[in-house]
Subunit: 355 residues, 2 copies
C-alpha cells in the first residue's frame, strides 16, 4: 500500500486544521499540550493529575507549572469515557423546591464533593412516570451511582436501574427489599406513634391534613388505622393538599374543615409548613392552641421551635440521611464496605406547645 502513508498524512493535516479551529473556538488546552510543554508523555501528565504519588518530584513540578501556564482544565467527559468512571452521582428528587428534600441533597452534595464527585440533578415531580423518564435520561450520563428520594418506583424504572448495575441508594423511606441500599425510617411507624402520642395526651377528637405525596399518605393512613385500633370511632376529618408542603394550603384546608363543622381536637399535619398554616388559621379565628385546637407537624424544620405557640412535631434527620447516602455510595464505588443494606434512622416526637 504505497499510498497509505500519504493518505494518513493527509488526514493528519486535516485534523490539525480542525484542532486549530477548535482552539480558537475556546475548546481549550489538552493533556497533549501540557505534555509537550513539560517535555513528557501525555500519560505522565495524566498520572501527575490522578496519581501524583507515582510521579517523580521534579517531573511533577514541571507538569504543574505547565498546567498553570496553560490554564489546563481536564476534560472529564474524556476521562470518564476512558476510565468508565464518570465521577458523577445522579440525584433524583420529587421537587427541587421542597426544602426538606433539598436539605438531604445538600448534605449529600457536600459530602461527595470532598471526593471529587459532582451531582447530576433530576426532578421527578412526585410522579412515577416522570421519574422513570428522568432516571433513563440521567443514566445516559453514566453516573457511578444514584440516590433516589422514595422507594416507590415504576416497574420500568426498577428495571432500568437494575440494568445499569451501579450502586443505588433510596432514602426517605424504608423497606426490607431495597433496590440496593436504603436509608430512612418507617412512615407507618410515624403515623402510629403520632396517634398513640396524641391519644396518650388525652385527645379524643382528631383531624388530618395531608399532602398528596406518597410518603405523607402512608403516614396519614397509619395514623388513621392506629386511631381506630385505639377505639376512636367514626370517619376521620381529613383534608388533602397538593404535594410539596405549603403553609398556604395548611391554612386554607383548616379554614375549610372548620367551616364544615370540625369543632376542634388534635390535627396531624404531614409537614411543619402545613402545621404552621393551621396554627395561623387558629390565630386568625382566635382559637386557643392547644386547648381548642391542638396541632402536630412533621419534620422538625428549623422554624418549628419559633412558631407561636412553638410547634410539636416529629423529628427526622434529613441531613444525616444525605450524609450516610453519600458515604454508602462512595464506599461502593471504592470497593469498600458500604455497611448495612437497610438502615433505619428512626424518628422522635418533639413535644413543644401545640400538642
Amino acid at each position: 500500500m504505497p499510498d497509505m502513508p500519504y493518505r494518513k498524512k493527509d488526514a493528519r493535516a486535516r485534523t490539525a486544521r480542525r484542532r486549530a479551529a477548535r482552539r480558537q473556538a475556546g475548546h481549550g488546552v489538552t493533556l497533549e499540550n501540557v505534555a509537550e510543554r513539560a517535555g513528557v508523555a501525555p500519560a505522565t501528565v495524566s498520572r501527575a493529575i490522578n496519581h501524583p504519588e507515582k510521579v517523580a518530584r521534579d517531573t511533577l513540578e514541571r507538569i504543574n507549572r505547565a498546567i498553570e501556564q496553560t490554564g489546563y482544565l481536564p476534560n472529564l467527559l474524556a476521562g470518564g469515557l476512558a476510565s468508565s468512571r464518570s465521577r458523577l452521582f445522579a440525584a433524583i428528587m420529587p421537587s427541587i423546591a421542597n426544602l426538606v428534600y433539598a436539605e438531604t441533597i445538600q448534605s449529600f452534595t457536600r459530602r461527595i464533593r470532598e471526593n471529587g464527585y459532582q451531582v447530576l440533578l433530576g426532578e421527578s415531580g412526585y410522579s412515577q412516570e416522570e421519574e422513570e423518564a428522568v432516571v433513563a435520561a440521567v443514566l445516559g450520563r453514566r453516573p457511578d451511582g444514584i440516590i433516589l428520594i422514595g422507594i416507590n418506583h415504576s416497574l420500568g424504572c426498577r428495571r432500568t436501574l437494575l440494568a445499569a448495575k451501579i450502586p443505588v441508594v433510596e432514602v426517605w423511606d424504608i423497606t426490607p427489599t431495597p433496590l440496593d441500599m436504603v436509608i430512612g425510617y418507617s412512615h407507618e411507624a410515624v403515623g402510629r406513634a403520632v396517634a398513640a402520642y396524641l391519644h396518650g395526651k388525652g385527645y379524643r377528637r382528631f383531624g388530618l391534613v395531608v399532602a398528596g405525596d406518597a410518603r405523607a399518605i402512608k403516614r396519614g393512613q397509619a395514623f388513621e388505622e392506629e386511631l381506630s385500633r385505639l377505639g376512636i370511632a367514626g370517619e376521620l376529618p381529613k383534608a388533602v393538599t397538593p404535594p410539596g408542603s405549603s403553609l398556604q394550603y395548611g391554612r386554607r384546608r383548616m379554614a375549610e374543615m372548620l367551616d364544615a363543622g370540625f369543632t376542634g381536637g388534635a390535627v396531624f399535619c404531614s409537614s411543619d409548613r402545613l402545621a404552621h398554616g393551621v396554627l395561623i388559621e387558629a390565630q386568625a379565628r382566635g382559637l386557643k392552641v392547644p386547648e381548642e385546637l391542638a396541632v402536630i407537624g412533621f419534620g422538625d424544620q428549623d422554624f418549628a421551635p419559633f412558631t407561636y405557640p412553638a410547634l410539636t412535631t416529629v423529628r427526622i434527620d434529613r441531613v444525616r440521611m444525605g450524609l450516610l447516602a453519600a458515604e454508602a455510595l462512595l464506599a461502593r464505588v471504592n470497593d469498600e464496605d458500604p455497611g448495612e443494606a437497610v438502615v433505619d434512622l428512626g424518628f422522635s416526637i418533639v413535644e413543644r406547645e401545640t400538642a
Copy 2:
C-alpha cells in the same frame, strides 16, 4: 513488518475479552451492538438517534426495534466527547436549601429538559472562593452553558468563565456589564422603592433586618441611603442574620432589637421568611401590626398572603427568571438570537396588611 497483523490480532483478542467482561459488569450495550442487530453500520444508528429524518423509514424501524430489544442507552459521555456538545448546563447557586433560588433553578431545569439538556449542580455557599472552585470543577464537565445566581464573582472565577468560551447567564441581579448575559432586577432600586413606599405611608421610624447575602446587603444599603435622603436622621436600627433566610433569625433579631430599646416603626426585612419571624415576635409580645410595628418583606413567596396579618412585600418573578435564562442559553447553543444581553425584570411592591 510480517508480525504486524499478528500483534494486531492479539490486541483485538484482548480487547474483545475486556469488552465481554465489561458487558457482564453491566457496562452495557453499545451502538455497535445495536448496529449489528439491525444489520446496519454504527453511523446509521447514530443518525437514526440524532437525525432520524436522514434515515430511510424501514431502516429506522429496524433500528428502533433493535434499540428496544437490547435496551440500548446511548452513552452521553462518549457522545459529548465526539461532538463537543455535552448537552449539559451547569447551575451555580448559593445554597440548594434556599427556596427562592430553588424556584428559579426549578423552572430553568424544567425548560432545558424539554430540549434534552440536563443540569449539573454546583453550590457556592454564598462565598466567592467556593464559587470559583465549584465553577472550575463544573467546567471540567464541558457544559454547553452556565447559569449563575448573582453577579459578584472573584477575578479568578470571571477569568475561568471567560476562558471557557461558553454562554453564561447571570440572574438575580442586574448590571450594565455582565460576563455575557444577565437577567434580573436592581437591588438598589428595590431598597429605594421600599424606603419611599414606607415614608409615603407616613412612617418616620424604621428598622432593618437583613441576611448576610450580597444581594440582601445591597437592598439594605440602598434602603438606608434613601431614608437619609428623605430626611430621616440618626442611626438606622439594624440586625444582620446569617445568609439563607430563616424565620428563626427574623424572630430572634426582632426580639433583640425590641429588648435593646427599639420602639416600633416600620421594619424592612430582606426576605419574607425573616419578615414572618418578625411578625411572630410581634404576635408573641402582643404588639399590634401595623400600628405598633409595621413589616415589609421581600420575595412575595407563596405564603406571604397567608400570614396573619397578610404580609406586605416586594414581588419579583423568580420563575420567569429561570425560564428566560434557560431560553437565552438554549438560543445561544443553537446559534439563534438570544435577545438582549441585559434584561431587567423589575419588581413591584405588593401592599397587604403589615405595612
